[in-house]
């Protein structure tokens, strides 16, 4: 089975290219991440993949079916967690799952048999009759995840599954997603949380302005795209110091506000130098995916 294969996909709105020719493919059983700042084209890509909007050009295969031609058949075997919760506020937890299962043509008895295990998975065991209106944000997200599993899909598509959640709720979602990956589910995930992508994704692509900038395993991207060590230098004097002296120690140094980010292969000489300047606070850490992301997509705000 081909979970998802996207080839040379393009989509414009009003002359503006939102997706500018991207290609990627998911392997069975992997968790693949689409990362990018707001407006990078992630959600539009997902909408094209689900057959909810027609691409200008390019081809899409979703669970072995050509999309948009046979999008309805493809969606039979796909589960979707949308970016914004759209659970039915008039229903209890169990009714939400029951009604959603009917959209897949499932018989009520078949759905009802699945409901206890789905709620259990969502950490909502025993909440069959609880109204959606009194659930916390994290509980709603987990119920949305359970809803996406009602048809036991081959591929799960998650659009920013933990945006707006507190750390406790995020960790619980991650733990559940890891369980799904361990069970062999294929997952496509969009996010702009780097720690989320690093934890969950076997491979990922970083998108910006409708294009894929790089693709690969998180560890490999960090190794290939960026210097291994980062020294962050804080303080009022940091920008001035960075301009005058950082060049002697760091291959690259980026200033953002009152922080200078120095990217180095060996941090020792820089740390010695900084030790003699107590007015500058320092943090030495290994490079991570966020450094790669910022290097590729820039530090400018996206609105």
């Amino acid at each position: 089975m081909v979970p998802l294969k996207v080839d040379a996909l393009r989509k414009s709105y009003g002359g503006h290219q939102v997706v500018a020719g991207i290609s990627f493919a998911l392997q069975r059983g992997e968790c693949y991440g689409l990362l990018g700042p707001n407006g990078a084209g992630k959600t539009t890509t997902l909408r094209c993949c689900l057959g909810l909007t027609a691409p200008d050009s390019g081809s899409i295969t979703l669970v072995d079916e050509p999309v948009p031609a046979r999008a309805r058949e493809a969606r039979m075997r796909v589960g979707v967690v949308p970016q914004f919760d759209n659970l039915d506020p008039d229903f209890s937890c169990a009714e939400n799952l029951l009604v959603y299962g009917r959209y897949f043509g499932m018989a009520d008895t078949a759905i009802r048999t699945r409901i206890p295990q789905l709620l259990e998975f969502a950490g909502l065991a025993g909440k069959e009759d609880t109204s959606i209106r009194i659930l916390s944000g994290g509980m709603k997200r987990r119920l949305t995840l359970a809803r996406a599993l009602v048809n036991d899909p081959d591929l799960l598509i998650l659009d920013e599954p933990t945006t707006g959640l507190d750390p406790q709720a995020r960790h619980l979602i991650w733990e559940r997603l890891k369980r799904l990956i361990a069970d062999g589910k294929t997952i496509l995930l969009t996010t702009h949380f780097m720690d989320e992508a690093e934890r969950l994704c076997g491979r990922l692509a970083i998108m910006d302005a409708g294009r894929i900038m790089v693709e690969g395993a998180p560890r490999e991207l960090i190794k290939s795209q960026i210097e291994p060590q980062v020294v962050e230098v804080y303080g009022e004097d940091a920008p001035g110091w960075a301009q005058a002296e950082a060049g002697a120690f760091a291959r690259r140094c980026e200033v953002s506000g009152e922080t200078a980010f120095c990217y180095v292969d060996d941090a020792a000489p820089l740390l010695d130098h900084l030790a003699a300047r107590p007015q500058l606070a320092t943090l030495h850490r290994p490079a991570n995916l966020e450094d790669v992301f910022l290097k590729l997509t820039g530090r400018d705000l996206r609105d």
Partner: protein, 253 residues
């Protein structure tokens, strides 16, 4: 048109919500038309000799059934459907499953017509209990109000598909629904209107609903049955196709 049996799952979703509040919903829908029927029927009717060859309240009964069917279908297809489309994003949730947007619009259409039929039937029952119907032929009003519900649900869904907010629906009611109620023979016979307006009234769907319902309730044989049904059917089909295409433009772009 990408229609399937899944449209019924959308209908069932709305039915499940309605079932939770069924009794207050039916009673609420009854209150308004009953006030019109009794207030105008007895109050105004007391001042009038026979209207159209019958008592005014018996004349008004058929109009009340049709007008409240229209109102119920319009409210459901406007306010309630818009909540699901725009506020709750229910339509988007459904479309992530193997249900097409066309199915969703069809499900909403059938649901609004069903709810309108229930509304009209409740009034029909009250009218029958008051002795204002003549025999079993009044039951023919049931399929008629379902068709009337379909026509107004389809028209309402066109407006919903382009509405930016709830306020938008005020225009539909003040510019279309309210004038139509006054010009379709609900409150007085059409021949009271100037000749030009009588012709214009033939373009209004409510005119055709009332034109069939009134003889059916008064124990008369309706005339031009085929013409009335054809107009309501054509409006339903054309408005549904328009609603689907407007909804696609809004959601599938």
């Amino acid at each position: 048109m990408d229609l399937s049996i899944r449209a019924l799952a959308v209908w069932r979703r709305n039915f499940l919500v309605w079932r939770k509040l069924a009794l207050p919903s039916i009673l609420g829908n009854l209150a308004d038309p009953m006030i019109y029927l009794f207030g105008l029927g007895y109050g105004l009717g007391g001042l009038l000799p026979q209207v159209g060859g019958t008592s005014y309240i018996a004349f008004l009964a058929a109009g009340t059934v049709c007008a409240s069917t229209m109102n119920a279908a319009s409210f459901e297809a406007l306010y309630s459907a818009f909540s699901r489309l725009h506020v709750q994003k229910t339509w988007e949730a459904i479309m992530n499953a193997p249900v097409s947007l066309d199915d969703v619009v069809a499900g909403e259409l059938l649901w609004a017509a069903s709810k309108a039929t229930l509304s009209g039937a409740a009034i029909l029952l009250v009218i029958a209990l008051l002795g204002l119907t003549h025999g079993m032929q009044a039951l023919w009003v049931l399929p008629l109000i379902f068709l009337t519900g379909l026509a107004f649900a389809a028209l309402g869904l066109c407006v919903t598909a382009v509405a930016p907010s709830y306020d938008f629906f005020m225009y539909y009611f003040t510019l279309f629904v309210t004038p139509m109620t006054l010009l379709s023979g609900v409150f007085f016979p059409l021949d009271q209107l100037p000749a030009a307006m009588q012709v214009a009234a033939q373009a209004l769907p409510l005119t055709h609903a009332v034109g069939l319902a009134r003889p059916l309730l008064l124990g008369q044989v309706p005339t031009d049955v085929f013409g009335h049904i054809a107009v309501l059917t054509i409006i339903t089909v054309a408005a549904f196709a328009t609603a689907v295409s407007l909804a696609r433009r809004r959601l599938l772009k």
